[in-house]
Symmetry: C2
Subunit: 153 residues, 2 copies
Amino acid sequence: MSAKTTESPVRLAAETWESLFRAQVAVMRRLQAGPAFKSIALNEYDVLFTLSRCPSGWLRLNELNDHVLLSQSSLSRLVERLEKRGYVARMPAPDDGRGVLLKLTESGWELQKQIGREHVRDIAALVVPALTAAEQQELLRLTEKLRASVAAR
Amino acid sequence: MSAKTTESPVRLAAETWESLFRAQVAVMRRLQAGPAFKSIALNEYDVLFTLSRCPSGWLRLNELNDHVLLSQSSLSRLVERLEKRGYVARMPAPDDGRGVLLKLTESGWELQKQIGREHVRDIAALVVPALTAAEQQELLRLTEKLRASVAAR
DNA sequence: CGTCGATAGATGCAAATGCATGTATACCGG
DNA sequence: CCGGTATACATGCATTTGCATCTATCGACG
């Protein structure tokens, strides 16, 4: 039996997270260095991306906030910037007087698609040589399982 | 054959990265919210952690920079803050007049151990219920393979 | 040795971020 | 309906971050 299988559950969990985190740092470094993110920050693109994937087209600010690693106030101002640059539009939520709904403008769709294409290419260039298709599917399954479990509690 | 296995390699890679990234965001959100990170920011802890794992005790600033998701100038100032608070000490590199070597002070070791204990507990509380030991080992293997591949190019 | 391009790190400055708090609306118990 | 608490978002302010640039040293080459 290897040393790995005999170590404590707590230690294994910590090493797993550490490894996931370092992989994320390594990939993110490369992605941020690419030309796709000269015109827009990664967090900003992430917001455009999330809005582009939203079925109804409109998304509440607080739902967006669960998705992004930013404080509520930072997201509020990030969206303010995107609105000022003409990439997103706001609307008061019809069913909740406190809420704000967001959607992409035409210009926002354009930018998302353009950056998205480059971004996807950059990702593939890093991930495809690293892992087989089967490994990628397994990694996808495991990270989704982890995310779902963490989100649920 | 499922839809997953018929999709393009590029798309699979992008979805894999997306899932990894979202899992990281979800876990990180929880970790940052914990009491362990009231006294010190996560990036700052990460530096203390990395120094604590360094065999020789001393580490070059530029080596540290590969490990952390921060620009060179931000890391420079982060270390300056840690030094000001008495957690790390600097020394000019003996073999390179441009370089700086860092190590933990006694107080830095204390803090790292204390935060580290809480941090590991928090991690385990999120990861252990989410994935079996075998799944964690597989996730560890895949993320390490990805990290190594990305770092190599 | 002296020059030149490259690398390590520091610093001025503008922008982004988070914390604490403010304002407005929603929800709930009486 | 009224009062109290919770939620959604905005804003003042101090801290952190990144970009551009600066200084100093390194390494290669004539």
